[in-house]
Amino acid sequence: MQTRTDEPAHRAVEAVARESYGRLVALLAARTRDVAGAEDALADALVAALTTWPRDGIPKNPQGWLLTAARNRLLDHARHQQVHELSTPTLKLMTREFDETADPDRWPDERLKLLFVCAHPAIDPNIHTPLMLQTVLGLDAVAIGRALLVAPKTIGQRLVRAKTKIRQARIAFEIPTADQIPERLEAVLNAIYAAYGNSWEDASGAGQRITELGQEAIWLARVLREQIPNDPEVRGLLALMLYCEARRPARRGAGGRFVPLSEQDPKDWRMPMIEEAEGELTSAFQMQRPGRYQIEAAIQSVHAERAHTGRTDAAAIAAFYDQLMQLAPSIGGAVARAAAHAEVRGPEAGLTLLDQIDSQAVISYQPYWAVRAHFLRQLGRPDAAADAYDRAIGLSDDPAVRTFLTEHRNSLTPQ
């Protein structure tokens, strides 16, 4: 435990690490392409700060201090190791670049390059999200494992492998050219959204794990939007996550009870966040290049309108889901589309749409069974509904959702 007097200095180290980790790693690794080496150097610098700052005071320019300290480690290390991949001209260039970048306000923002490196097609897509979380945000393997439900040791090994690949395959730290951007950007957006939690739009998947990374994912999307303001999908993703985040306080009722969207009180929604989302989505639509994230955001925007109008335009939501399924078909989208159409045309229509989904694909897909149970209940088929509820309950990993479904199951009236 730290002594009391150390606290401001420790908090300062923590704050600058939190704010600038990705920027610093990106700056350090831009030339060497050695993400792991950059992280090690930065870790050393942070440790040095923890001992130096409480003693000598917090430097005026904490980021500059850390960058200088980490840079010196990196250069020392490179010289010691006589790293083959790193030529003398590169070392000289690095030194010069570092000297020119003592003022953090004049640093180029290299985080964008780092995001594209993390989601490079040469790297296993499964590791895109963890790699971003670690190198841009500085999360450790334990936190990443907890949020993505993967063993920390496994995550650690995969991260090491990915970083080795970046260095050995010499994946360039650069922003893709205009013609590469759409393809490459999609991977970046998907990785950010995966960090947020894909299951959010699902009818009942309330996963607690989502909450852990919500803020970080939104932060990454903001970085991206600052850097690529003219891409509508970037804004669409940011809007989508803001809409969902705005509803977070309303998702749990008294005693941690799960509250489905249709029963949420809009008074519990965070309106400034919704307004920000509206602004992002409007600018996105003005670019007239529709995409998956814009449509998903549009669906959330219709839900958000209930705060003003008191009602939900179910037909608009159903139409957006039709569009979404044509553009980016998925099991989650198909289930949500069935739920949306049932709101307009009744449970029978919803059930017909559910039956069209490949039954093999939904065996272990919780939202399918929750939605199916809901339809069967409305259709007055309690036995079949009970069966579907059981399957949904057995597949839930959120105790609040499990309780919610169990209560619904137990309140079925026998025929």
Partner: protein
């Protein structure tokens, strides 16, 4: 790959099994989970264990058999059951462990079966 989910529960959880009010919810959640394992085609085996008070431990020390009342470990959470699952990866096992009702109130330990050890410690079925 075979994975064992070892389910640890607290004394309160064991008590819930017998409580008339709570046992329905407890059993219902477990029945639903078991059903999901069967539907997914991954269930290989598993059983619930009776309460730790019913346990008896055996040791052979210096040619003397020591019999002791109660479970081996002294921890608050006690082994309450186990499940054996056939799954492609540890990630999949963790996903199923998270869905296990005990994950919400007790602890679920995921352990891979020792594949290299197994042929050395087992014999082929003679019939």
């Amino acid at each position: 790959m075979l994975y064992a989910l070892l389910i640890y529960e607290t004394p309160d959880d064991f008590a819930r099994r017998d409580s008339r009010v709570e046992s329905d919810a407890y059993a219902g959640a477990w029945r639903a989970y078991h059903r999901a394992l069967l539907d997914a085609g991954i269930f290989v085996g598993g059983k619930p264990l009776d309460a730790p008070e019913t346990a008896t431990t055996v040791r052979l020390r210096e040619s003397k058999t020591e019999i002791q009342d109660g479970p081996y470990s002294n921890t608050k959470e006690q082994l309450g059951g186990f499940t054996l699952l056939e799954l492609p990866s540890l990630d999949a096992a963790l996903e199923w462990a998270a869905r296990c009702p005990a994950a919400a109130y007790g602890v679920v330990e995921v352990r891979p079966i020792a594949v290299e050890m197994e042929p050395r410690v087992t014999v082929a079925n003679s019939n």
